[in-house]
């Protein structure tokens, strides 16, 4: 089997990367923060998929999790509150050849950025989205976020929050053109990595909600789930997660779920206890926006000039025409 000259040359001088090649600054997250586990999983993914750092971009909004791009030795864009999605979409439109990740928190995505979130799902551009959901505004020192459970006391809800929490999974599954939805928890690193990898490999808008601990402001929030494996429900399927025997021995609460079954996915997504972990929905046949819009519409400067001239010619009145008409 042969390959084109360019591929041959690229293959010949291919660089392989180590985990350290993706490690940027030392994380400033609080000690024990679940963001660390996500950072490690993503760095492992970059290494294992051999993503070229100069062709990889992490885009974030505002919040603890949105410091993520600082800790990746790749391109990054620490954006403004709630605007990670449009920035990432712009990057992808301009450079579809780049691997684009979005790191967003529950406040950044589900509150101020909710409008962008909904439409980003609908556009189904090829982005890997990681929602770091610790159910609290941590950077601003404990205010209730849209995903805070009812009754949670915080600086903005001293008597406990009044509203039922928003479920980012059911919201995402309800939007037209949704193509990939998964849920992970930061305290099972093996599955966290596998789910993020599956999300990256899916072509389309891959949405991964990661339930993560905030040891600083909600240290007890997930203790029951942390210490009782029975409260975690693993979703298995023949082309789903790779669950090791060791993990299967600990997490025995498993059900088989076909990721193409949207109705079942919505049912499972609605459950909060036990926490479902795995791929809820995956449909590779949903078209990506970049495949529908402007496909192959590259225009060189000469083509643009020729096109403009042709258009101008339609309405141009040439002086000699006037002269000829006058003479006539």
């Amino acid at each position: 089997m042969t390959m084109p000259v360019t591929q041959c040359l690229i293959k010949l001088h291919e660089a392989h990367h180590q985990l350290e090649d993706y490690q940027g600054g030392v994380p400033r997250w609080c000690s024990g923060c679940g963001d660390n586990a996500i950072l490690t999983a993503v760095q492992r993914l970059c290494r294992d998929e051999d993503l070229a750092p100069e062709r990889t971009v992490f885009v974030s909004g505002i919040g603890c999790s949105s410091r993520f791009p600082h800790y990746m030795k790749t391109y990054g864009f620490h954006g403004i509150h709630g605007r990670a999605f449009p920035i990432a979409q712009g990057v992808k439109m301009a450079r579809p050849d780049l691997a684009v990740f979005v790191n967003t928190g529950d406040g950044d995505c589900c509150s101020i950025g909710a409008a962008h979130w909904i439409h980003a799902i609908r556009y189904n551009m090829n982005l890997t989205v990681i929602l770091h959901d610790n159910q609290v505004y941590g950077l601003t020192k404990k205010q209730a976020s849209p995903t805070s459970p009812i009754g949670m006391k915080s600086n903005t809800t001293p008597r406990g929050s009044y509203l039922e929490a928003m479920n980012p999974l059911t919201v995402t599954l309800g939007v037209t053109n949704v193509s990939f939805v998964a849920q992970a928890v930061d305290w099972i690193p093996e599955l966290l990595y596998d789910i993020i990898r599956k999300a990256y490999l899916h072509r389309g808008f891959s949405f991964v909600r990661i339930i993560q601990r905030c040891p600083e402001w909600l240290p007890k929030q997930f203790e029951p789930w942390l210490h009782d494996p029975g409260k975690t429900l693993l979703l298995t399927h023949r082309d789903g997660l790779a669950i090791s025997p060791e993990l299967a021995r600990t997490y025995r609460n498993q059900i088989e779920h076909d990721p193409l079954d949207m109705n079942r996915a919505r049912e499972i997504a609605s459950a909060t206890d036990p926490i479902p972990v795995g791929i809820l929905y995956r449909n590779p046949s949903v078209p990506c926006y970049e495949d529908l819009h402007g496909v192959g519409e590259v225009r060189t400067a000469e083509q643009v000039r020729a096109g403009l001239e042709a258009e101008f010619d339609k309405v141009t009145v040439w002086p000699q025409d006037d002269g000829a008409r006058a003479a006539a």
Partner: protein, 741 residues
């Protein structure tokens, strides 16, 4: 004359090909045709694959559609169920017949034109609305293109149409690639210019601003501001030269010229890739190879530059010696295919003598060869064979060249094999389309019938060979486009009225003898036997072929034919013709073997294995009587006859045995939160996946182990027992550690 005398005359004819006596009539001039073709006198009244529409615009552009399928689509749209729909349906089907008749008479027009003309011809005073209605339906056609009937010119039209569609797709992909690279390279040069000293001069900055606001800016001050403290970042001369060279090559390549820019100064002329002889195509292909290599080199350099991967030290030596010898098939597939449509009478022209050479050279050339003459006797008479090989064997010979995509078919079947032809243009090497188009002689059958007869009779079987379809011959070779490919001859039902006017149905094979009866050149090999001289020694040709030599000597083969009045006739064939039939049947058998049908190797192997199996069964039967058999041997007989024995459940992996006195971490569950490392980063380290393990238990105290276990959010650190009995506060620490043992 008695029966024996009649048979002797027939035997004599069979042996010598000479007619003696009154009981043998010459067939020339009798207008005979094989009985199975009796129902196909007026093709215009039949709905079949032809004519075809070479769709040029609208839905399915680039495809080849049968007129009948286009009409069916129209009927589905416009003719609702019920009386009104039925009326419309009749109108449209009459119009289809008119179009068929028009094309059969040689009309060469588009579907829209033919539709209009046919509608006009159907106008009648009795039904004045018909023309209007049909014209209205014609306006709703969502496709248009040239209509081609099954004649000698049709294969070239169809192949060229499919080739053009493939080239359009290739052109689109190529232009997308080249335009993308041109934009990327131009961007690099533009960015370099903007950052250069010249790019920041006041005049340059002024030129970048359009409109009437130029006076509002102080470009001198702007220039100073932009040049101050800015690092010198000029493009290295070698890189600039390389990018400019690649850009120039891509912008002036003549393989796929941008149709919007064609004719402008500096834009090269589009090269031609369609030829009518092999020599011209080969010369053009070879002459253009250096230019093609140059474009491939420019693409490779541009790709590397656009990705920022070009490294002078690594890539310069490679590109310094880059020429056509470095091209890979994947590079060449980007460029246009050369198409050679050899006119039917030009097969043995000297400029086509190199056909086998260009096919075997792996050049991206696709050649259409139209064959008009199949039976070898005629070729031998001409003194030489086209392309150095008999026409009927050409395609099969080409499959042996390696890497050549081959399609052989009769013209009548070309529509059915259009996807295989289209697929050939995705194949990056050479290709051969060998198509039988009938003799075209005066008084011969129409092309469609002659071609169909050639294929049905196995004189010119259809097959396709795709060298890249898979690793096995079974994947590469396809014979299924033939009717009843597993049989020697296809068998079709023939219905007729006998002398008592009773309906008779008979299964009739269609042999090469039937096919040769259609060709006047072989008339001397046949003799019609008047009905009163029919006898039991006359047997159908296929049955005669199945006889052994001794019995065959007592019989004479005949073919069932019909005359112009559709009266059944028996026509006996001579031995020379039957030898040809045998030769072609042998050739068909070879093709069948290639296609996996009656494969002799497989059959021998199967027979051998079957014999072994039977031998084993016989031995089993000879074993001692039941009851004396050992228990172990009897055991399988009691097992369920069908289905697999239930497999024992896979044992759950056992947990590794650990010494509870030793400290350890469940590394695979570590969420990398740094808590333990913050306590002692020599004792706790990360592995290659950045998950913690105990690197050196002696690098810290037992207290640190216990504290790490307590602070670990996921409780995966197990401190074990103290190693230093003198460590202070041990009793309390051991108590705290109990929760993590």
């Amino acid at each position: 004359m008695d029966t024996v005398a009649r048979f002797d005359e027939q035997r004599l004819f069979f042996s010598t090909g000479r007619r003696h006596g009154e009981g043998l009539d010459a067939v020339d001039g009798l207008g005979l045709r094989p009985a199975l073709l009796a129902g196909y006198r007026d093709l215009a009244r039949l709905r079949y694959d032809y004519p075809v529409v070479l769709v040029g615009t609208g839905r399915d552009a680039g495809e080849v559609r049968a007129l009948s399928s286009v009409i069916d689509d129209v009927l589905r749209e416009v003719a609702p169920r019920g009386l009104e729909g039925e009326k419309l349906r009749k109108h449209v089907l009459r119009l289809e017949r008119e179009i068929r008749a028009l094309t059969a008479s040689g009309a060469r027009r588009t579907l829209a034109e033919l539709w209009g003309e046919a509608a006009q011809r159907l106008a009648s005073p009795r039904d004045p609305s018909a023309q209007e209605v049909l014209a209205g339906i014609g306006d709703k056609l969502d496709l248009d293109g040239w209509v081609a009937d099954c004649d000698a010119g049709m294969p070239a039209d169809v192949v060229t149409h499919l080739w053009q569609a493939a080239q359009k797709r290739k052109a689109k992909a190529f232009r997308r690639l080249v335009d993308r690279l041109v934009v990327r390279l131009s961007d690099i040069l533009r960015a370099a210019f903007i950052q250069s000293a010249v790019g920041r001069q006041p005049e340059t900055l002024r030129a970048t601003l359009g409109g009437s606001y130029k006076d509002a800016f102080d470009f001198g001050a702007m220039s100073k501001l932009l040049t101050r403290n800015v690092p010198h970042d000029e493009l290295p001369p070698a890189r600039r030269q390389r990018i400019e060279w690649a850009l120039q090559v891509l912008q002036t390549q003549p393989f796929y010229v941008d149709e919007h820019l064609a004719g402008r100064p500096g834009v090269p002329e589009q090269l031609a890739f369609r030829f009518t002889d092999c020599a011209s195509a080969a010369e053009a292909c070879r002459a253009r190879l250096p230019k093609l290599a140059e474009v491939v080199k420019a693409i490779a350099i541009a790709e590397l530059e656009a990705d920022g991967r070009y490294a002078d030290a690594k890539h310069d030596p490679f590109f310094a010696h880059f020429d056509e010898s470095a091209l890979t098939p994947e590079d060449v597939v980007l460029f246009p295919d050369y198409l050679v449509c050899i006119p039917a009478g030009e097969n043995d022209a000297p400029r086509n003598a190199g056909l086998m050479d260009i096919l075997s050279a792996g050049l991206p050339v696709k050649v259409l060869v139209e064959t008009t003459d199949l039976v070898e006797e005629a070729s031998a008479g001409a003194g030489h064979f086209p392309f150095g090989v008999r026409a009927a064997r050409l395609a099969n010979t080409a499959t042996g060249l390696g890497g050549v995509y081959v399609v052989q078919t009769a013209a009548s079947n070309l529509y059915a094999m259009r996807e295989r032809v289209a697929k050939a243009f995705a194949h990056h090497g050479a290709g051969l389309f060998s198509v039988y188009v009938g003799t075209g002689a005066e008084g011969a059958l129409p092309t469609y019938l002659a071609a169909a007869a050639a294929m049905e009779s196995r004189a010119f079987p259809a097959f396709a060979y795709d060298p890249h379809a898979g690793a096995t011959q079974a994947a590469r070779f396809a014979l299924e486009d033939n009717p009843q490919p597993e049989a020697d001859w296809p068998v079709e039902p023939l219905e007729y009225a006998d002398e008592a006017l009773q309906r008779v149905r008979q299964e009739m094979p269609f042999t090469i003898a039937d096919f040769m009866l259609c060709d006047r050149r072989y008339a001397s090999h046949f003799a019609r036997i008047p009905r009163e001289r029919w006898n039991d020694a006359m047997v159908p040709a296929d049955e005669w072929l199945a006889l052994d030599a001794k019995r065959a000597g007592d019989k004479v083969p005949y073919v069932l034919a019909v005359d112009g009045e559709d009266v059944l006739q028996r026509v006996i064939a001579d031995s020379r013709l039957m030898q040809t039939v045998v030769r072609y049947r042998t050739f068909w058998h070879r093709l069948q073997e290639q296609g996996g049908i009656h494969n002799s190797h497989a059959e021998i192997l199967l027979a051998r294995e079957k014999a072994k199996w039977e031998e084993a069964r016989a031995k089993e039967r000879e074993e001692p009587a039941p009851g004396s058999a050992p228990a172990a041997a009897a055991a399988p007989a009691t097992a369920p006859a069908a289905g697999k024995a239930a497999e024992p459940p896979a044992p759950e992996p056992a947990e590794p045995q650990r010494n509870p006195d030793e400290a350890w971490i469940e590394t695979s569950r570590c969420p990398s939160c740094n808590e333990c490392q913050n306590i002692n980063d020599r004792m706790f380290k990360y592995n290659e996946n950045k998950q913690a393990y105990i690197a050196d238990v002696n690098a810290g105290t037992y207290r640190q182990l216990v504290e790490a276990a307590e602070i670990c959010q996921v409780a995966i650190i197990h401190p074990g027992k103290p190693r230093n009995p003198n460590e202070p506060g041990l009793a309390e620490l051991v108590e705290r550690a109990k929760a993590f043992l």
